[in-house]
């Protein structure tokens, strides 16, 4: 970027000019807001603040001519170097602003004036005009108010009419038009007649439309005044006085917003223009509540679409929580290109919506109200296109279709290329403006692409996020920021996201990269900058270390400092895990475990070196110790054989060992409660489990990201097929089963149980581990399974299990630990250890097998007798072939593959040989999709209720009427909801028995279907209530639901109903 340095200098000068101009504009805005002062008085002040906004303030003077009067300083000197803008109110020039130089100055765009100054003076003129209009309207209304206080109600609207005629005839015309439309729609013949006569719109005249295709005669009507008089005359006949008054006042108010509606309706309006309109809308101070509901919703939806997302799912939720006013927050913080049609991207959208949901939750606790979002600037997604064109990089756009290996190889060069590319100057200006606003606090540049953070494609960690120290001169900081933006842009073309998109069929979708520039949450600790702690939290807990923890208890991964260590998997370090629903059930219990699995390192920003770093916590504490934010709540004291809470004075961190346990934070602060409430609120409002990122600076809790929690079908319980032929069943399990499936396994790596326990030499055992590591690189990724004895990867006695590390197994699809019972001794398995956590994170399925449990199957003959490929694959480990076996399943079975299905709700799992595809897949796929569209739970329940009613023979069973109520009727049913039925029963005891039996059959079937769809198991899905005539008479029990005023039961037609 060296070539840019000169350009940077010029640009900075230009920027200073912009800052002056902006300042000037703000001051004018400020002055115009003083509604108590007279216009002339305000204009006197305005001419004072104008000159500093121009390029040569010393020689600059200004005056305002208004309604024939010139407001100017006594020393005003007319000169030929003048810039002038008219003040136009209701299409009529009522005055002008003039800015002039007292002497000749160098030529520029418009005489001595800059083109930006032209824009400035126009804007100011516009603002003044607005203010004048506003004052006139206000005066009109006040006059009307005064009038109505004295006049009778009947005359009120006439007063309004009079005022409008005087002040704003154009508005009156529009209102007349609305009124006549209204009357026509209401079926007033006279109005229709009038309209036909006026006929600007042919569609309202059915005779003309049906008759001919010739052009329609133009308006027969005379002047607007005539029409107005006529319209109001008709209205007076057909509408009550107050009706007319209400309509007229509503239309007047709505008219104020009409320019915004029009701008949004027009697809060609650029984002910049939309923002200008929005700014004007803010300026004229429309109260959203004054607009009709449909106008409000229309505005919201259009704005959401323009700023955030076209996704219907998103809009549907967002429109409930994002008001027009909410967009004001964004106005000053968006960097957008001219003619912009880009958006802010998925991450921005998710975060913005989440924050609004929190702000608008009526029942939110104080804790939630205190949740903050860091100050953010947004770069619209279409800048990347401009950037690409600016640098003639168009070739990169289709790189996504190249072979992935090539993408991978060339990617580093592409990054380098992007980083040496230059930015369009507008872009650079925008970034500089952002930097000025954000100041010199550390920043994070985060990707926010259009595809990101949508349900089913979270792109987690696929695109770059970069931290900036943001120290140094303005030029240095800007250069660093541009560098980071370029790198984030490059990441869109990286191999990982390309592969990810290919896997999800998103390669052909147009992808653009929006960017968020955010303040980093935290504070300075010595030479470092970091938050007290950060992390991620999930609504659903997929790593339940204790059977007492339920999925909906959620999961927090908490680390000290920046959250990067919680988001990424880091070797040799661990986040602290908390289930917010069960914060006292910890993964680690003994002092040894607590210490071993506590975080040891911290990610932070080194302010001296101006960069992101990882530092040993011990070192950090030695250096900065007591100044670490909220340290007292984060650490526990290591004493000789236990971990003590920190009570009393802070220890000397130089000598006293501590462990980051977050004990105080969890036990003594509302931190965990806050996250739990947050997760619940967001999940409830968004209708999907969520995944959030957060940071805590010791005082405030910041939300950094919110997106639907991805579970890609993983967490869905797989239906367990019954009656599998015994010769196809390889294993089954009934303990510690989690949800999931591995559809295709082609290779099994089997460590023979007996063989391993008889290995006498430690080296031989280590060799097994090494060989497994080699196989991990050799076998087809995610299609092989490891089976072996005891605790894999455990520290200590390797006789207890194969010595492997994460990287030795990270490509496997599944790990099965086999626990052979010896006497009454049952070996402990890896379940619940951190090794297990690694598996969960890599979505490697885990299953313990207890072959000695008679209710399970373990086909060790298949495993022991199949041909062993080890000697061919790894000749150097051929000596292990007695113990280590590699089985090619299709080769061994004539083309079958191993399929593993696991269902936690049933506590059952099976591994069996099957042809490549089976119907069951489509079932599972369906349940995965239905689970992601939670709104659908009621729909099929409703259909089923209709079906049952239609099948129910009222005479046979003595049922008079069939009602549906509760969550299915109200369309709020969740995956575990019942279908609540109310049956008006008039039959005898025998019929009753038969009826209940008949319904029970349905109930069981529906429960089964629900299970297959959602994985929720219940004894029956129907909740049947029988009511009798007497009940209805007395309105007792559920009978109140029939014909109830609120939430009544819905009657469904039965078989023989007419």
């Amino acid at each position: 970027m060296k070539a840019e340095e000169h350009q940077l200098g010029t640009m900075l000068h230009a920027l200073q000019e912009r800052a002056k101009e902006l300042n000037c504009l703000y001051q004018v805005g400020e002055l115009l807001n003083h509604s108590g002062r007279s216009l002339e008085d305000i204009f006197r002040s305005i001419i004072q603040v104008l000159p500093p906004g121009w390029q040569y303030p010393a020689d600059c003077q200004a005056r305002i001519i208004f309604e024939g009067t010139a407001i100017q300083a006594p020393e005003f000197l007319p000169t030929p170097w003048v810039q002038r803008a008219s003040i136009v109110v209701q299409q009529e020039a009522v005055g002008a602003i003039e800015v002039s130089y007292r002497r000749e100055l160098p030529r520029s765009d418009e005489g001595p004036f800059l083109k930006e100054e032209r824009r400035l003076i126009d804007t100011i003129a516009d603002r003044i005009a607005n203010a004048v209009t506003q004052r006139r309207l206000k005066a009109a209304f006040e006059g009307w108010g005064a009038a109505s206080a004295t006049a009778s109600a009947a005359a009120e609207w006439r007063v309004v009419l009079e005022f409008l005629r005087d002040t704003d005839p154009a508005l009156l015309k529009r209102i007349s038009r609305k009124l006549i439309n209204h009357l026509s729609w209401s079926g007033v013949e006279e109005a229709k007649e009038l309209l036909r006569k006026a006929s600007a719109s042919p569609k309202l005249d059915p005779t003309l439309v049906s008759d001919e295709n010739r052009p329609l005669p133009q308006s027969l009507l005379g002047s607007a005044g005539d029409l107005t008089a006529e319209v109001f005359r008709i209205a007076a006949q057909h509408m009550s006085e107050s009706e007319i008054l209400n309509s007229v006042t509503r239309w007047i108010k709505e008219d104020k917003a009409s320019f915004l509606v029009r701008a949004l309706e027009n697809q060609d309006t650029s984002l910049g223009e939309v923002m200008e309109c929005l700014e004007r809308y803010r300026h004229i101070g429309v109260e959203e509540g004054e607009l009709s509901l449909y106008t409000q919703t229309g505005l919201r939806v259009s704005l959401i679409r323009r700023f955030f997302s076209e996704s219907l799912t998103f809009i549907n939720v967002a429109k409930k929580f994002i008001d027009v006013q909410d967009f004001y927050d964004l106005l000053d913080r968006i960097v957008f290109p001219p003619g912009c049609h880009g958006k802010l991207g998925g991450k921005s959208a998710g975060l913005f919506l989440a924050k609004k949901i929190i702000d608008k939750a009526p029942d939110a606790s104080d804790l939630l109200r205190a949740v903050r979002v860091p100050k953010t600037w947004y770069i619209t997604s279409d800048w990347i296109q401009n950037f690409v064109h600016h640098n003639d990089l168009e070739d990169v756009l289709n790189r996504k279709y190249m072979e992935i290996e090539q993408v991978r190889q060339e990617y580093p060069h592409l990054v380098a290329l992007f980083k040496t590319s230059s930015f369009p100057s507008e872009f650079a200006k925008g970034l500089a403006l952002a930097l000025d606003d954000l100041g010199d606090v550390p920043l994070i540049v985060r990707s926010s692409s259009l595809l990101e953070d949508r349900p089913g494609s979270a792109f987690s960690g696929k695109y770059k996020s970069l931290f900036l120290g943001n120290r140094g001169t303005k030029e240095e900081r800007l250069a660093a920021l541009m560098d980071a933006v370029a790198e984030v842009y490059a990441s869109i073309f990286g191999p990982d996201p390309t592969e990810y998109r290919a896997e999800r069929g998103l390669l052909d979708v147009h992808e653009e990269m929006g960017i968020m520039i955010q303040e980093v949450v935290g504070q300075a600790v010595g030479k470092y900058f970091l938050p007290a702690c950060s992390g991620v939290a999930f609504s659903n807990n997929e790593f339940r270390w204790s059977a007492r923890i339920k999925r909906e208890d959620g999961l927090i991964r908490l680390v000290p400092g920046l959250g990067t260590r919680a988001v990424d998997r880091v070797a040799d370090d661990y986040p602290v895990l908390i289930a917010p629903g069960q914060p006292n059930l910890r993964v680690n219990v003994t002092p040894d475990e607590v210490l071993r699995y506590s975080p040891k390192r911290v990610d932070l920003i080194n302010l001296e070196k101006n960069k992101f770093e990882t530092v040993d916590l011990a070192t950090l504490l030695r250096e900065a110790g007591a100044s670490y934010p909220q340290i007292r709540d984060l650490v526990s004291i290591l004493s000789r054989d236990r971990i003590e809470p920190l009570i009393g004075p802070l220890p000397d961190f130089a000598s006293q060992g501590v462990a980051f346990t977050f004990e105080g934070l969890i036990r003594h602060t509302p931190f965990v409660t806050c996250i739990r409430e947050l997760l619940q609120l967001l999940q409830h409002r968004l209708g999907t489990p969520v995944d959030i990122e957060f940071a805590y600076d010791g005082k405030d809790f910041y939300l950094l990201q919110c997106r639907p929690q991805s579970y890609g079908g993983d967490g869905v319980p797989a239906p367990i097929p019954q009656n599998l032929p015994p010769d196809k069943l390889i294993f089954s399990a009934r303990h510690f089963v989690s949800n999931g499936k591995v559809p295709v396994i082609t290779h099994i790596v089997y460590v023979d149980l007996e063989g391993y326990s008889q290995l006498s030499d430690q080296n031989a055992m280590l060799d097994i581990g090494r060989a497994v590591g080699k196989l991990n690189k050799l076998l087809p990724k995610r299609q092989f399974m490891l089976v072996g004895p005891g605790r894999w990867g455990s520290r200590g006695d390797i006789k207890l299990g194969v010595p492997v590390t994460y990287s030795d197994i990270n490509n496997s699809a599944m790990l099965i630990e086999v626990a052979r019972q010896k006497g009454n001794y049952l070996p402990e398995l890896s379940f619940g250890t951190h090794f297990f956590q690694d598996l969960v994170e890599a979505s490697i399925r885990y299953l313990p097998l207890y072959p000695d449990d008679p209710s399970t199957t373990f086909n060790d003959l298949f495993l022991r007798r199949s041909r062993n490929l080890l000697p061919e694959l790894l000749p150097e480990f051929a000596h292990l072939q007695e113990t280590l076996r590699v089985i090619d399943v299709p080769l061994q079975t004539g083309g079958l593959k191993l399929r593993v299905l696991m269902n936690a709700d049933l506590q059952q799992a099976v591994g069996f040989l099957s042809p490549a595809q089976q119907d069951i897949d489509s079932f599972a796929a369906e349940s995965a999709t239905t689970d992601r569209a939670p709104n659908e739970h009621w729909r099929w329940r409703f259909r089923m209720a209709q079906k049952i009613a239609a099948e129910l023979d009222g005479q046979q069973f003595g049922v008079n009427a069939f009602y549906l109520f509760g969550s299915t009727k109200n369309a709020t049913a969740g995956p575990a909801s019942d279908i609540d039925l109310l049956l008006h029963f008039q039959g005898n005891a025998q019929q009753k028995g038969e009826l209940l039996l008949w319904l029970e059959g349905w109930s069981q079937c529906l429960a089964e279907i629900n299970f297959l769809r959602t994985g929720y198991r219940s004894d029956g899905l129907l909740d049947v209530h029988l009511i009798t005539d007497a009940d209805i008479e007395e309105r007792s029990s559920f009978a109140v639901k029939v014909n109830a005023v609120t939430d009544p039961a819905r009657k469904l037609p039965m078989k023989n109903d007419r």
């Binding site: 006292n584 054989d641 236990r642 520290r795 010595p803 001794y825």
Partner: protein, 451 residues
Amino acid sequence: MATTPTEPVVDRKEAAKPAQSSNRSHKPFNSFQIAQAQFDRVAEYLTLDPATRDLLRFPLREYQFAIPVRMDDGTVKIFRGFRVQHNDARGPGKGGIRFHPQETIDTVRALSMWMTWKCAVVDIPLGGAKGGVICDPHNLSAREQEQICRGWVRQVARDVGPVIDVPAPDVMTDAQHMLWMLDEFERIHGGRFPGFITGKPVGLGGSLGRTEATGYGVVITLREALKELDIRPENTQATVQGFGNVAHYAIELYQRLGGRVIAVACWDQADQCAYTYRKRDGIDLQQLSSITDHFGGINKHKAADLGYEVLSGDAWIEQEVDILIPAAMENQITGDNVNRMSPRLRIIAEGANGPTTPEADAQIRERGILLIPDFLANAGGVTCSYFEQVQSNMNYFWEKDEVLGKLDVKMTSAYFAVSDLARRETLSMRDAAYAIAIGRVAKACHERGWV
């Protein structure tokens, strides 16, 4: 737990102590049967009368009880608790309390019997006991664990106490659990009885010197062995397996005696294997400790930078040394590697539990190497627990010097008794230790007129 080399509290080690007579490469089939078989063998040698055998083959008393706990979610869960007092002829019972999901009464019985022998071999006036609760602390909140601890005490409050039976920490219990139990006991009995339980933190009834006790104990027995063999410590060199708490203090005391440790072996978490770190002119304990993590793992690269040779994990056994101190985990000296020991080797001091397999044991004996058996060599820990109880009972706490001085006396005389018997009866040190322990308990039972 059993194999963690850094485990400081000896009581815990005993918990999973493998049976000496069983095939060590497999876990015990039924630990109580193994313990009985082992007793039978020694009883035969001692020609104990049938009544004594009958008495000692089984615990004197067993308590099994329910502990109802109101869980955090409001439900009540019933936990099963145990206390087994194997024998208290020589003094109040002593033994840990285990929290373990697969706890069985037989395991507790076996462990209580081992406690009886262990206390007897160092000749401290305590009997043997053990207790436990079937539970997995990984499924329990801290509050729930506290309730289990208090519930346990409530159920046996009248059958335990400073003069009846003294619990201690064990598998998955620690000082915190002991304090909850002590508090409950004191509430019930209305007073302060710190001698009710051991394993308490210093300042709240704990004893100084506990950190050092096990490691020092190992070297005190080693010192006596050297004296017997008429070898001057300053002329010896040793290798140590393990670099945890026990190894650390063993090395410290041995170096103070003038010996030279030329290599230590320890586990490397990152590489998932052990390494031996050798420095022929003697390791620098201070220096090596400064590059060791909390779990006794030495930083391989820093060690190499400091001039240590990094050798394979089992190289410690084949060094040219006079003394081996296996202080890491069980089953380290086996039939396979016993032949690789230097001809110069004279003494093995078992700092860990069960580091030597029976095959290796036999060969070591044939070669005339003096082996100081684990439950004598590492009995410094239980001895210090006894001191903690004594100090607690008189509510007067000694300085560290005094604790360690008394430890020296106890360990020295324990060693002498065992070595004397071994010499007189030409028994292995291991067999002699068992014979002495069981003999002492049998004698106490006789003298009390029980049998």
